[in-house]
Symmetry: C2
Subunit: 233 residues, 2 copies
């Protein structure tokens, strides 16, 4: 997705750390110890520092001088800014997809919706992977690699954010109907409708995420566990 894997050790380490972050092995707020990780991977600190630097520039890690790197832990205001950017990018992509759509890509969109509805009927929750799959299919239909790349970077931050939540957002029936409506708008070539549907969809997802974050924050503060990460001078 990002480029060639064989651009040195740093490249491999980037992908390894990225997976650890996205899968929640390294939860938000985790501090990264350079010597320890370098020793575990059997490499030097040079390539590791380069890998960390790249992930910092992607927004998956944050870097504080003389204290090292930590997995990005978003606050509510960060979520708002994040979804503003995501809406700008994905709404534009939805418009483009409605204009540039090709039969094959419309079929793929419909197929993802169909698989989602089936999964929704068997289990109660819609798997998050299928949600990601829909949005990525839409990016493909937009035929704008540059925008797709940026959307993927934003999506990654959302994944990290979700990995820090114990109760994952349930992606309700509403999300599924949103997807189906968007697929229809793209199929018909109605760019404006696709964009406004996307905007409403993302606003809903943002609200769900914020509510989950706030409720879990309350549940966490009650027992006496201190706030993770996020230091105030």
């Amino acid at each position: 997705m990002t480029g060639l894997v064989h651009r040195g050790l740093a490249g491999q380490v980037v992908e390894m750390l990225r997976e650890q972050i996205l899968t929640g092995v390294l939860p938000p707020g985790s501090r990264l110890n350079e010597v320890e990780i370098a020793r575990d991977l059997g490499i030097s600190r040079g390539p590791l520092r380069e890998a960390i630097g790249q992930l910092v520039s992607e927004g998956l890690l944050v870097h504080v001088p003389n204290k090292g790197a930590a997995v990005f832990a978003a606050r509510p205001e960060d979520v708002a800014a994040l979804f503003e950017l995501r809406a700008a990018l994905e709404c534009a992509a939805a418009r483009m997809a409605a204009h540039r759509r090709r039969p094959q890509e419309v079929i793929r969109l419909r197929k993802v919706c169909e698989r989602s509805r089936k999964a929704r009927e068997t289990g109660r929750k819609l798997p998050y992977d299928l949600d990601l799959d829909f949005h990525r299919s839409l990016m493909d239909a937009a035929h704008s690699p540059r925008i797709a790349e940026q959307v993927w970077l934003v999506q990654q931050q959302v994944i990290v954010l979700r990995s820090g939540l114990t109760s994952r957002t349930t992606h309700t029936e509403t999300s599924l109907t949103d997807h189906e409506a968007m697929a229809g708008a793209v199929a018909e070539g109605d760019a404006d409708r696709a964009a406004s549907l996307m905007e409403a969809h993302l606003a809903l997802v943002e609200t769900e995420l914020l509510q989950t974050m706030q409720s879990e924050a309350r549940n966490e503060e009650a027992p006496g566990a201190q706030r993770t990460g996020r230091s105030a001078p």
Copy 2:
């Protein structure tokens, strides 16, 4: 703009190299020799490599394995993808500015347009700095730091692209009236008009840039100078 300058030597080197790239001291296609630059700056190669890595992730440099880094040299198709992203971001920002505008920011927009018109009357060309100033004022009015950050990254690539052209695009009278119309739309709170004006404006700028690139490419191929950068296997 990007963050704290004092996050080590790498941070300072990033800013130094960034200025060299944006001002055209390092023209597009230039290869960066690590040992030479490190020696000139009086530092080691470690921080320098980190700085280069960051600029690669920003898109100002490109990196080829075992061959080092070079200043990004855009092809026409890159320009198209770049302006698709820029349009997505700046149109959304224009909409936001029309919604969230504050009196002080509207005044600033008008002031930039006024200064641009004065400069346009004295000299024939509109200084590029004033164009950048307008777009940055609009980003401020949008009150979306995350989008503003991404717009700035895209703007930087456009600046690099322009630095490789001998005859800078003249930013005609049309661009100035576009700016004034956008300022008016933002002042009135007409988000849709601000967005569509921005889209048209960027389409014009893109066309101007592509024409300049193509004409200069023809003039360069005639004398017998080989194509800079851009290696095909």
